[in-house]
Each structure stands twice: as structure tokens, then as C-alpha cells.
């Protein structure tokens, strides 16, 4: 099986410890999300997986073999910082990048044509990259990543700079690749995308693992402690509850509030406080916290165990 295994990997740059004993496994047919604040060690980790750099300690294997020139041929990497040869024509560029990945010239040409058609972009082939818009360049780069039908795909912020229609197209293709049993690593800051796409999560901060598991398990471990309310009338009850340290408000607009239950507070207590004070109640929902909240809590060093359960 084409499983990617990162085994207690450490990377130092001089005195700086960029990645500190990180381990995870990425299964084929699943999308593995790597999250982390800037400078957390995401890019350093990805560069070791793509064999651009090598770990100081630990090992990385793909399909049972240590990563190296051979695994590079079987992986496609879309870096966060995009780049293409500006003076080169799109078609030539795709063929060249495909050849670098070990395709023959005709294979690369066929694949480039097929994917440009899929993106409705056949006419771009003879254009220079610098003549294309940023979004178009983004798509060309995406095609370059998947052109050689790699087993392992690494997407770093693949949707940035794309309009919603093209983002949806990319998402469809990524999901198709998952169905086709590819091993997919997805790095992003955009929590709603991670929530939508990823099966598994790995949260890294300061080079260390902070959270790790399937999306469902991670969310479950944080419990159902987040309330979403829609109502009409005064919202002074929220201030009262917050003063008593019963809740912490995350977002609040007229007639809408989202907050976390603190300590021993139950949803029922909140509801009882609210009901006499609002004119009408349209929605009262107890949920798992959104990933963005988990992200912030986890990075700030609060593990699920130390968090107050709902």
C-alpha cells in the first residue's frame, strides 16, 4: 500500500529546532490535514517528505521505501508559494515539468492536453504564463502537480487566490483523487476547508505535535460545548452569564450569538437564564466546537483533558 509514514522526525536549522520528533501516518484514500500557525514547522515537514531536505533524525517512508528520487517521481507537490517559468508557454511548461517527474514527452503532452480540457483551458497551451491571470496560473500549477498521476499528493493552501467556482472544481478533483485511492496531504490555515475535506488531522505548533487523529475523534474529544443561539430582544443576559464566568462569547451580533460553556455550566442553565429576557427564541443548538476554536485552544496549550467539559 502507498502509505506515507513519518517516524519521529527531527530537523534543525543551526540552533533552531524546526521539527521536533514528529510522527504520523497518511493512509491512501484519505485526506490528511496538516495544520499549524505560521512557522510551526509545516513547510519544513513537507520539504522533508518531498525530499527537498532530509531529516536530521527519524525516517520518512512512502510505500515502505525511504523517500528519495524514486518517491519524488510518484509524488506531486503544490507549494504554498506558487511559481512557474513566466516566459515559457503553458503547454511546454507542463510537458517539461511532467518530464522532470519521469514522464516521456508524449505521455506528458497527452496528460497536459487532457487536464487543460478538464479545466476548459485548451487555448492556454500556446500562451506564455505571464499572459495569464493569477487564477489561471494557479490552475496551471495545479495541473502541473497532478499531471504525472502521482500516488502521493501534497497540497499546500491549494485554494488560495481562486474564485469560488474554480475552488469548487479543484475540490471536486481532490475528492476524486481520494476516491481513486491516492494518498493526500493537505496543509492549510483555512479551517472551514479543512473541516470540509479532511479525514484526519495533524496539528503542529513550535515543531511539535499538538493534536493528532481523525477529524471526528478530535472534535469529539473537545465535546459538545458550543452553543449557537438566534433570538430577538435584548442580549444583556449574555453579559450576565459572561460576568459569572459561565460562558465565553465567541461571536455576537444582533439576534445571534455563539459561545462556549465554561466550567459546570450546562446548556439548560443558559437557556433558563435567557428565556425570561428574550422576546422570542428561534434557535438554540449545542454543538462540537468549530475547528478554528480547537485550533486556537490547542495551540495555546489547552489539551482536551484540561478543558472544562460541557
Amino acid at each position: 500500500m502507498s502509505r506515507l509514514i513519518v517516524d519521529t522526525v527531527t530537523k534543525r536549522y543551526g540552533a533552531h529546532l524546526a521539527v521536533d520528533g514528529v510522527s504520523f501516518e497518511v493512509e491512501p484514500g484519505r485526506i490528511f490535514g496538516v495544520l499549524g500557525p505560521n512557522g510551526a514547522g509545516k513547510t519544513s515537514t513537507i520539504r522533508m517528505i518531498t525530499y527537498i531536505t532530509s531529516p536530521d533524525e527519524g525516517r520518512i517512508t512512502f510505500g515502505g521505501e525511504p523517500v528519495g528520487p524514486a518517491s519524488q517521481q510518484r509524488m506531486g507537490y503544490l507549494p504554498e508559494e506558487r511559481g512557474l517559468y513566466r516566459k515559457m508557454k503553458v503547454g511546454e511548461q507542463l510537458v517539461y515539468l511532467g518530464q522532470l517527474k519521469g514522464l516521456s514527452k508524449s505521455e506528458a503532452r497527452d496528460a497536459a492536453r487532457r487536464w487543460l480540457d478538464r479545466f476548459d483551458a485548451r487555448s492556454w497551451a500556446s500562451k506564455k504564463v505571464e499572459e495569464l491571470s493569477k487564477g489561471m496560473q494557479q490552475k496551471v500549477q495545479f495541473i502541473a502537480t497532478i499531471l504525472h498521476d502521482p500516488q502521493l499528493l501534497i497540497f499546500d493552501e491549494p485554494f488560495s487566490g481562486l474564485d469560488p467556482i474554480n475552488a469548487a472544481l479543484l475540490q471536486d478533483i481532490i475528492l476524486e483523487l481520494r476516491e481513486a485511492g491516492r494518498t493526500i496531504l493537505f496543509a492549510s490555515h483555512r479551517m472551514e476547508q479543512v473541516e470540509q475535506l479532511c479525514d484526519d488531522l495533524f496539528l503542529i505548533a513550535n515543531g511539535r505535535e499538538v493534536l493528532h487523529g481523525s477529524l471526528r475523534d478530535v472534535k469529539r474529544s473537545f465535546g459538545k460545548n458550543t452553543v449557537t443561539m438566534e433570538f430577538s430582544g435584548g442580549d444583556g443576559f449574555l453579559d450576565q452569564l459572561e460576568e459569572r464566568e459561565a460562558i465565553r462569547v465567541r461571536s455576537r451580533t444582533a439576534g445571534h450569538a455563539e459561545f462556549r460553556l465554561l466550567g459546570e455550566t450546562t446548556a439548560r442553565q443558559v437557556l433558563e437564564t435567557a428565556l425570561p429576557r428574550v422576546d422570542e427564541l428561534y434557535r438554540f443548538e449545542l454543538n462540537e466546537p468549530p475547528l478554528s476554536e480547537i485550533f486556537v485552544m490547542a495551540v495555546n496549550g489547552q489539551s482536551p483533558d484540561t478543558l472544562e467539559p460541557a
Binding site: 518531498t50 532530509s54 507537490y77 507549494p79 511559481g83 512557474l84 522532470l100
Partner: protein, 432 residues
């Protein structure tokens, strides 16, 4: 699979197809030709090859006027007249006459001086020719006045030919070192320019990949060493292409120019005007053609051209990898530029003294040899062991710099933000 040829090919095609390359390749010789044409044109104009009419006022008793009329260059038609000076002057002003000589009575005794009056004093070479004509005529008359016979006159006027002979293993040969040191000079200069131009091209290519952020994509497909070597070789091929095209254009240009000149210029005027100066050269350049450049010199030139380019090209790549903008590269470039510039300063000395011990030592140093050894090889017979040693040292230096440069390159291409210092570069080399 080795990706270096694939990368080199792409680097090559990407550059050769650009408009800038085509324009630069075509325009450079055109500009050069234009420059030559202008300087030749200026030369022709100042030669005053056109017919000129002059008058000679002869006040000498020996009748020097007629002798001078005969001795003047072919394009001068001279008449000995006894017209008043102011009427001659008026004729010059009206443009009927180009000028007039005055040969005063005391000229032969050296008491008075000859003079030539014209609207423009004329170029330096035409002044020289007129002066020489007058001198010849006066000297002959003075000799004759002492009662010298025709034999004496002939002996005094006969040219003094001298030739330089080099003793070689094959026997005696026309010593052409004068021309060869010129060729060596030119070859050394070409290598010097090429290292700058194509080295800078390598550096720009690396910086471009870095600022375009494509480097991470290609670095996940090939080893940094392959990327660097592919780029250096690809651009080297661009340089060779440009070079070959220029040589072809130059030969074609020479052929065409030769034919055109041959039909346009009367050989007798050429001989009349330039022949005198040429006799003073130890060697006649018109007997020399490109085909006379020995094959081994061309081979050495190409070897050192390639060796020097590879040596410096990889260093330029390393510098390029450490910066994000060309302007940031200046301080890091210094240690590369100095060893290129130094030998250019030694060039004149080496060309003049190709066998001096200092020349031998300097031309063996790997960072200097691409320029200096070629100059020596052209100017003298470099012993085989020296050539072999220089090439061996160059190859060793090349392997060392490639190793060093690829280590810097590997780390540098992924570094963004901070401007790198030499300390950083040294640290990168040590990274595992």
C-alpha cells in the same frame, strides 16, 4: 534517471528562443560592423583619396618644383607656375585650386622653409605624405649638390628590409609571434568577457527561479545538484551557440566585405597610400588568415573557455541562490569577480613576456589559467607539462567549486527574506 540533460535542454531552449537572445545575437555583430564601417569611413574620408590640384611656386635654382610634382602622391596633379601669391590664394578660395606649395630659394641650404597653403591643413597622414615628398626631393637635390653619383643616390634611397625569424623544431619559420600575441590577447579577452556575461546569465537564471518561486516545484522533482549543473550547462550551450553564430556571421561578413571592397577600391591607391607604412611592419598581416591559427590553439581555447566558464558559472549559481534580487548580489559577487579581473590586468605583461617565470606561475593558477594560459599558448610554445598541469589543476578546482557551490545552492534556493552574508554561506556549506 539522470535529469541533467533534460534540465540543460529546457534551460537552453528557453533562452535561445527569446527575442532578447535573437536580437542580441544579430545586433552585436551588426553593431560591431557599424563601428568598423564608421571608423573605416572616417579613415577613408581623412585619407583625401580624391583628386587634388595643386600649384608649386618654385624659387629654387635647382628646379625642385618639377621633381616635387613627380614625387607627390598619385592623386595630386601639380603644376609649376610663377603666378603671384595673391592670385593663387584667390583661386584656392574660389575652390579652383586645392592648395599651393612655396619652395623658397634658401630651401636647399636649409636657410628657408618650404610651405604648403590650403584651406584645410588636412589630416595627419596627408600632412605626413606631403612632408615626406618634399623631404625626398630636397634630400636628393642636396646629395646631388655634393656631387654624389647615381649609385650613391640609389644606395641612400634603397629600403632596408629586415625580417624576424623564429627557430623552431621544424627549422626556421617566419616569426609571427607579433600576430599570435594579438590573437592570444583577443582570445583571452573573449574568455574574460564570456565568463562575465554567461556567468551573470547563470546568476540571473537562479535568482529568477527563486523570485518566481518555481524552485520548490523543481526541487521536488530533481536534485539541487542536477538543477544547478543543468542550468550551468544549458547556459554554457547558449554561450557556445552565440559564439558560433558570431564566428559564422563574422566569416560571412569578411567574405562579403572582401568581395565588395575588391570591386570598389583600386588596388594601386591602396598600395600608394598604405604601402609605405606596411613595409615597416615585421610581418605582413595581409598574408595571414584565420586558417593559419593552429588547431591546437583553438582546442586549448575551447578547453579553457569551457573550464573557465564551468568554474565561474557554478560560483555565480551559488551567489544567485543566496539572494533574491540582482542588486543584492553585488557584495557576494566580489570574491568571484576579483579572480576574473586580476588576470585581465596581467594580460599585457603575459602577452609581452609569455615565457617569464612569473607568467608561467600565474598561468598555472586555476582561477587565472582560463585567460592567461590561452594568451601564453598563442604567444609562445607552452611546454606540454605546463598545459597538462594547468588543465589538471583547473579540473580539480572545478570539482571543488562545484561541490562547494552545490552545497550553497541547495540551501540557498530555499532561503527567503534575510540577505545572506558570507558567514551564512559558510554555514550552509556545513549543513548535512
Amino acid at each position: 534517471m539522470n535529469k541533467i540533460p533534460l534540465i540543460a535542454r529546457s534551460e537552453y531552449l528557453r533562452r535561445v528562443r527569446t527575442k532578447t537572445f535573437i536580437i542580441a545575437t544579430v545586433l552585436a555583430p551588426v553593431m560591431l560592423l557599424a563601428l568598423i564601417a564608421v571608423s573605416v569611413g572616417v579613415g577613408v574620408l581623412t585619407q583625401e583619396g580624391g583628386a587634388r590640384t595643386v600649384t608649386i611656386i618654385d624659387e629654387t635654382e635647382a628646379g625642385l618644383g618639377d621633381a616635387l610634382a613627380e614625387r607627390l602622391p598619385d592623386n595630386y596633379s601639380a603644376m609649376v607656375e610663377a603666378a603671384p601669391l595673391d592670385s593663387l590664394r584667390a583661386r584656392v578660395e574660389r575652390g579652383v585650386l586645392d592648395g599651393y606649395f612655396v619652395l623658397p630659394a634658401g630651401l636647399l641650404d636649409g636657410e628657408e622653409e618650404a610651405a604648403f597653403y590650403s584651406e584645410g591643413v588636412g589630416g595627419f597622414s596627408s600632412q605626413m605624405r606631403l612632408q615626406r615628398a618634399v623631404e625626398d626631393v630636397v634630400r636628393r637635390a642636396r646629395l646631388r649638390a655634393t656631387g654624389a653619383s647615381d649609385d650613391v643616390l640609389q644606395a641612400a634611397e634603397a629600403g632596408v628590409p629586415m625580417r624576424m625569424v623564429a627557430l623552431t623544431e621544424e627549422g626556421e619559420a617566419e616569426d609571427t609571434s607579433w600576430v599570435y600575441s594579438g590573437i592570444g590577447y583577443a582570445m583571452g579577452f573573449i574568455i574574460y568577457i564570456a565568463m562575465f556575461v554567461y556567468g551573470a546569465m547563470v546568476m540571473r537564471g537562479v535568482i529568477e527561479e527563486k523570485t518566481n518561486r518555481i524552485v520548490e516545484v523543481v526541487a521536488s522533482s530533481a536534485k539541487p545538484f542536477q538543477l544547478m549543473m543543468g542550468k550551468v550547462l544549458g547556459i554554457g550551450a547558449v554561450g557556445l551557440t552565440q559564439f558560433v553564430l558570431w564566428v559564422v556571421l563574422a566569416l560571412a561578413g569578411l567574405f562579403v566585405a572582401g568581395t565588395v571592397l575588391g570591386t570598389m577600391v583600386d588596388p594601386t591607391t591602396l598600395a600608394g597610400t598604405e604601402g609605405a607604412e606596411m613595409q615597416e611592419l615585421p610581418f605582413d598581416p595581409s598574408n595571414f588568415s584565420l586558417a593559419d591559427i593552429p588547431f591546437d590553439l583553438i582546442a586549448y581555447f575551447l578547453l579553457f573557455f569551457l573550464g573557465g566558464y564551468l568554474l565561474y558559472g557554478s560560483l555565480f549559481a551559488a551567489v544567485g541562490s543566496a539572494v533574491e534580487q540582482e542588486s543584492d548580489a553585488q557584495s557576494l559577487q566580489a570574491p568571484i569577480l576579483i579572480p576574473v579581473i586580476l588576470p585581465a590586468l596581467f594580460l599585457p605583461f603575459i602577452a609581452d613576456n609569455p615565457d617569464a617565470p612569473a607568467s608561467v606561475v600565474l598561468s598555472l593558477i586555476p582561477f587565472f589559467s582560463p585567460i592567461l594560459m590561452v594568451v601564453r599558448a598563442a604567444a609562445t610554445d607552452v611546454p606540454f607539462w605546463q598545459m597538462a598541469l594547468a588543465l589538471g589543476l583547473l579540473a580539480a578546482a572545478f570539482i571543488a567549486t562545484i561541490w562547494l557551490a552545490s552545497r550553497i545552492y541547495r540551501v540557498g534556493i530555499l532561503m527567503y527574506g534575510k540577505k545572506a552574508s558570507f558567514k551564512d554561506l559558510a554555514r550552509w556549506v556545513r549543513y548535512a
